[in-house]
C-alpha cells in the first residue's frame, strides 16, 4: 500500500511536470500547443547530449535550459503565434489555428532533434535506490518529484499572491476584460507561453534521467498533458497538480493490484468519467 502511494506520487510528479507547462500555454495564452511534447523531448535531448558529450550534470543542464527555452518559446509566440492571435475573431478559431500551427511546429522540432540524435537518449543519472518509508524508489524520480512540487508551489504562490500573477490569472479568465483594466494582454500571454514552454523543457531534462526517450516520443507526453490539463481544469495549476496526482496513484495502483496492462485503460476511464460528470474539469469554472 505504501509502495503504491509512494511510487504513484512520484509518477504524479512526472505527470505534473508534463502538464503544468501546457496548462499555462493553453489556459492563459490560449494556445493549444501540440508541440508541447516535442519541447519536452528537446529538453531531454539537451540533458542527454550535454551529459554524454561533456559530462555536464543534468541538474546544471536544467539551469541552462531555463533561459534558452524561455527565449525560444517567447520568440515562437511573438513571431509564429501572435499573427494567429491577432487575426482570429473567436476563441474557437484561435484554437483551430494554433492546433494546426503547433502541429506543424512539432514536425520542425522533430526534424531538429533527429538531426542531432536519431537514436535513443540512453544515459542514466542518479539511478540509485533510495528507501522512503520502507518502499524502494530511485533518486532521479524523487528529484523530479521535488522539482515538480517546487515549481507547482512557486507557480501557485506567484499566480495567487503577486501582482503579475494576478494579471496572468485575469488574462486566463478573460482577455477582453483584462485588456479593459489596463493589463498588457499580448505581453502577459507571451510571458505565460514562454514560462509554460520553460517548465516543459525543464521537465524533459529531468524526466530523461529515468525514462529513455527518443525523437518520436513527444506525442505520448502531449497526450498525457492534455488529459491532465482537461481533467484538472484549463488554466488551473492546482487542478493540474491534483489531476496528475490522481492519475499517478491510480495507474500505479492498477498496475500493482490488477494488471500493468490496464494502466492506460484506467487513465482513460477516469478521463471519460470526469468529462461526463464535470466537463469543466476538477477545478474549472463554468464558462457561462
Amino acid at each position: 500500500m505504501i509502495d503504491i502511494l509512494i511510487s504513484g506520487l512520484l509518477l504524479s510528479g512526472t505527470y505534473a511536470l508534463v502538464a503544468m507547462g501546457l496548462n499555462l500555454q493553453y489556459g492563459v495564452a490560449r494556445i493549444m500547443n501540440l508541440a508541447n511534447g516535442e519541447v519536452l523531448v528537446l529538453g531531454a535531448l539537451a540533458a542527454f547530449w550535454l551529459y554524454t558529450t561533456s559530462q555536464v550534470s543534468p541538474l546544471l543542464t536544467v539551469i541552462l535550459v531555463i533561459p534558452v527555452s524561455f527565449t525560444g518559446n517567447w520568440i515562437i509566440y511573438r513571431f509564429l503565434l501572435t499573427p494567429l492571435v491577432k487575426r482570429s475573431k473567436t476563441q474557437g478559431a484561435l484554437e483551430v489555428d494554433s492546433i494546426l500551427a503547433t502541429f506543424g511546429l512539432s514536425f520542425i522540432i522533430i526534424g531538429i532533434i533527429v538531426s542531432i540524435e536519431g537514436g535513443f537518449f540512453a544515459y542514466k543519472y542518479l539511478s540509485e535506490p533510495i528507501r522512503i518509508l520502507g518502499s524502494t524508489t530511485s533518486l532521479n524520480r524523487l528529484l523530479a518529484f521535488l522539482v515538480a512540487a517546487l515549481i507547482g508551489v512557486a507557480l501557485y504562490l506567484w499566480l495567487n499572491f503577486s501582482r503579475p500573477g494576478v494579471a496572468v490569472r485575469a488574462v486566463a479568465v478573460s482577455t477582453e476584460a483584462s485588456g479593459l483594466v489596463g493589463i498588457n494582454v499580448p505581453r502577459v500571454s507571451a510571458i505565460a507561453f514562454a514560462l509554460g514552454g520553460t517548465i516543459t523543457a525543464v521537465g524533459g531534462a529531468l524526466i530523461s534521467t529515468f525514462i529513455t526517450l527518443d525523437a518520436s516520443m513527444g506525442v505520448v507526453f502531449t497526450l498525457k498533458a492534455l488529459i491532465i490539463v482537461i481533467m484538472g481544469g484549463v488554466g488551473e495549476i492546482r487542478g493540474s497538480i491534483i489531476a496528475a496526482g490522481i492519475l499517478g496513484v491510480v495507474e500505479t495502483g492498477v498496475a500493482t493490484l490488477v494488471d500493468p496492462g490496464l494502466t492506460l485503460a484506467s487513465a482513460y476511464l477516469i478521463f471519460v468519467l470526469i468529462l461526463l460528470f464535470r466537463p469543466q474539469g476538477l477545478f474549472g469554472k463554468h464558462t457561462t
Binding site: 540512453a122 542514466k124 530511485s138 529515468f210 527518443d214
Partner: protein
C-alpha cells in the same frame, strides 16, 4: 499535332540521353524509419549498415556486373514508421525513381506489409529485422521474400534451453517471472514462451503485460521481485528494455537469469548502465572474436562513427553482401535472374557462409549476454563461437 509529336520526340531524346548517362550506375532504394517509434532502432541497425556497404562498394569502383563496373546510387526515404507511407514510397521507388534493387524494410510488420508491392515489381527482398513463425506461409505467397534472422520459436527455444540448463545446474528453480510489452512482437513471443516453458515443467509465477510506452515500470519489477522467481524474462521493446533494467537495478532484483529482448544488444544499453548490467541476457548476440566480424565492426565504427549493435547489424550487412554477390554472380541487373541466383547459391558473408532453403537462412544468433562490456552470443543456430552462459550476480 505536329507540335505535340515534336515535343514527344524531344522528350524521348532527352530521356534516351539521360538513361545513357545513367549507365554504370545501380540504383538502390531504401525505405526505413528515420522518425517515429521504430526510428530509434533503425538508426542503430539499419541505416548505418546501408551507408557502410554503399561507401565500401563505391570506394572500390562499384560492382562488376558482367565486365562493367557499376557504382551504387542510393535513394533513401523515411517511412515515418507508417506502413501506409512505406507503401506509397515503395510505389514511388519502383515507378518514378525506377530503382534496380531495394533494401528490405526495418521491422517485421513493415516487411510483411510491403512484400506484395515489392513482389509485384519483382524486387528480391532480403529481410533482416523481421522475425516470425509464418516464414513458410509468407515465402510461399511472396517468392521474392527471404528471411535471415530466425523465427519466433527459435528465439524462445534459445531462452528455454538456457532456463533448462540453469535448472539442471541448480541455479534456478521451476519458477519464472515473465513480462511482455503489449504489442504484436511481445505478445507473439510471450504466447510462444508460455507454451514452450510450461511444456518443460516451468511455472510462470508472475506473468504480466504492460502497454508500450509505460512511463513507470516499478510496479512490474516489484511484482516480479515479490514472486521470488530466480529467472526473469522480458519480451520487451527498446524503451522498456532500458526501463526494466533501471528498475531491476533500483529494486536490486535477486535473480540468476535476467533476459530482456530487443535493444539489450545495443551499445547504448551498455553505455547507459555500464558494469551494472554485466551478465544480462538479451535477444541477439554476435561473435566478436570472429576475424570477419571484428573487421566488419571496425569498418562500421570508422565509416559511420557508430559502434555496430551486437545483433542484427551484422545480419543487415550480410544481407547487403548477399545482394552484392548475387548481382555480380548473376552478371545482370535483371531482378528475376538475381532472385533465382539468391535461391540457388551460397554466399560468403560476415555471418559466415549463408544459403537459403525455402527462402529461409538458418544461420543466426538467438540469445546473447553482456560479458565484461561485450555482448557475446550464447545461443544460436549454425553459428560458431557461442560462449558459456554466466549467472547474473547482483547489479553493481
Amino acid at each position: 499535332m505536329i507540335r505535340r509529336s515534336v515535343l514527344a520526340l524531344a522528350s524521348a531524346v532527352i530521356l534516351a540521353t539521360t538513361s545513357a548517362f545513367a549507365e554504370g550506375v545501380i540504383k538502390l532504394g531504401a525505405i526505413s524509419p528515420k522518425t517515429g517509434p521504430l526510428a530509434g532502432g533503425a538508426v542503430v541497425t539499419q541505416w548505418p549498415n546501408i551507408q557502410l556497404w554503399v561507401e565500401q562498394v563505391n570506394a572500390v569502383g562499384g560492382l562488376n556486373v558482367g565486365g562493367e563496373m557499376m557504382t551504387i546510387d542510393l535513394i533513401e526515404y523515411d517511412d515515418k514508421t507508417n506502413p501506409g507511407e512505406h507503401i506509397k514510397l515503395a510505389q514511388r521507388l519502383a515507378t518514378q525513381d525506377k530503382v534496380d534493387f531495394v533494401v528490405a524494410p526495418y521491422g517485421t510488420g513493415f516487411n510483411i506489409a510491403s512484400a506484395p508491392i515489392y513482389g509485384k515489381f519483382g524486387y528480391p527482398m532480403i529481410a533482416v529485422s523481421a522475425i516470425t513463425d509464418k516464414v513458410d506461409e509468407l515465402t510461399g505467397r511472396y517468392p521474392n521474400l527471404f528471411f535471415t534472422l530466425g523465427t519466433t520459436t527459435a528465439f524462445v527455444e534459445g531462452v528455454k534451453s538456457i532456463l533448462m540448463e540453469q535448472r539442471d545446474a541448480g541455479a534456478i528453480g521451476n519458477e519464472i517471472a515473465m513480462v511482455n510489452v503489449a504489442d504484436a512482437f511481445g505478445i507473439e513471443l510471450a504466447d510462444k514462451a508460455r507454451e514452450l516453458f510450461t511444456a518443460e515443467g516451468f511455472k510462470i509465477v508472475y506473468d504480466k503485460s504492460y502497454p508500450l510506452g509505460t512511463p513507470d515500470l516499478s510496479p512490474v519489477m516489484k511484482g516480479a521481485k515479490d514472486s521470488g522467481a530466480k529467472a526473469f524474462i522480458a519480451w520487451s521493446y527498446p524503451p522498456d528494455s532500458f526501463g526494466l533494467a533501471e528498475q531491476a537495478i533500483i529494486e536490486d532484483l535477486d535473480v540468476n537469469v535476467y533476459y530482456s529482448a530487443v535493444a539489450t544488444s545495443f551499445p547504448a544499453f551498455s553505455n547507459a548502465f555500464g558494469s551494472k548490467i554485466n551478465n544480462v541476457l538479451g535477444a541477439g548476440g554476435t561473435n566478436v572474436d570472429d576475424p570477419k566480424i571484428a573487421e566488419y565492426r571496425e569498418a562500421h565504427l570508422k565509416i559511420t562513427g557508430k559502434v555496430a549493435d551486437y545483433w542484427a547489424s551484422a545480419n543487415t550487412y550480410a544481407a547487403l553482401q548477399i545482394l552484392e554477390q548475387a548481382i555480380v554472380g548473376a552478371a545482370t541487373l535483371d531482378r528475376e535472374v538475381v532472385t533465382q541466383y539468391i535461391k540457388d547459391n551460397t554466399f560468403d558473408t560476415v555471418m559466415g557462409d549463408l544459403n537459403f532453403k525455402n527462402n529461409f537462412s538458418n544461420t543466426f544468433w538467438s540469445v546473447g549476454q553482456w560479458q565484461d562490456g561485450v555482448f557475446r552470443g550464447v545461443k544460436g543456430s549454425n553459428v560458431d563461437g557461442a560462449v558459456d552462459v554466466r549467472l547474473k550476480d547482483g547489479w553493481k
